[in-house]
């Protein structure tokens, strides 16, 4: 049967998957599904019969490193809470494009920014609602320009 061919495919997809730990899970699943469909389409439509031919398909796709790097580049800035910290892979950890501390730091920065924005909005709303219609109170510039910056919350999800 085709087990001996799918072995090399399974291994390839697993190697790609191992390198996608920092991606949102749906993007990760999507890419693996696309790659699997591509390989299967090539196998069926080109009538590939041997493992060597299948390896050629994989070589044209590119090494797992190259494919994963493209996935990270196209993912763009990742959302603040991208993924739970992935457990370190015991054997042969894949090279990572980002240092492990980058995501928590970006996440903490975004959280701090959101809190600041919420504070500004609240301040603005409060100032507006406190106005009498006849004599609008001007907001003190230094107050609006410099809201008290909350201390950046320490991320609890350091990876």
């Amino acid at each position: 049967m085709k087990t001996q061919y799918t072995d090399v495919v399974t291994e390839y997809l697993r190697e790609v998957d191992l390198r996608l730990a920092g991606l949102p899970v749906l993007q990760r699943r999507e890419l693996l599904a696309d790659l699997a469909a591509h390989i299967e389409t090539e196998r069926v439509e080109r009538g590939l019969v041997g493992e060597a031919e299948l390896i050629e398909v994989l070589e044209r796709l590119g090494s797992p490193e190259v494919v994963a790097r493209a996935a990270y580049e196209e993912a763009g800035p990742l959302p603040p809470i991208a993924a739970p910290p992935s457990p370190p892979v015991a054997m042969a950890p894949p090279p990572r494009d980002r240092a492990p501390w980058v995501l928590p730091v970006i996440g903490a920065g975004l959280v701090a920014m959101l809190i600041m924005m919420a504070l500004c909005a609240g301040l603005f709303f409060f100032a507006r609602s406190g106005n009498s219609p006849a004599e609008p109170m001007r907001m003190a510039p230094q107050e609006s320009a410099e809201p008290v910056a909350p201390p950046a919350p320490t991320p609890s999800f350091t990876g």
């Binding site: 469909a37 389409t41 439509e45 590119g62 190259v66 494919v67 493209a70 996935a71 196209e74 993912a75």
Partner: protein, 114 residues
Amino acid sequence: MSDVGQLATSLRRGTLEFCVLAMVEFEDRYGTEIVRRFGDEPGLAASEGTIYPLLSRLRRVGWLDSKWAESPSGPPRRYYGLTAAGRAALEHFRTEWVSFRQTVDRLVGTGEAA
């Protein structure tokens, strides 16, 4: 990475995605079809597998949409098509690209009239 590879990467950035959009401008195409097409063009894509993350991003920004459909000969195919926003982006690129190319040709001396 060699300088040659670096240059190719730099040139691809920002242009390859519009080649993808142009490929599905008039008819929907499935992933493998798009990838094969790029495989035939030397130096356009780094490797075939890098096209899929690109397709994913173009879908996420709303320039492409995709739908799975049965295939007569193999596994289900994921067909990609241009959205209205993608069409507008492609038209915008065409305008920008012509003037960009003319400027570079003039400065680098690669234009026909240079």
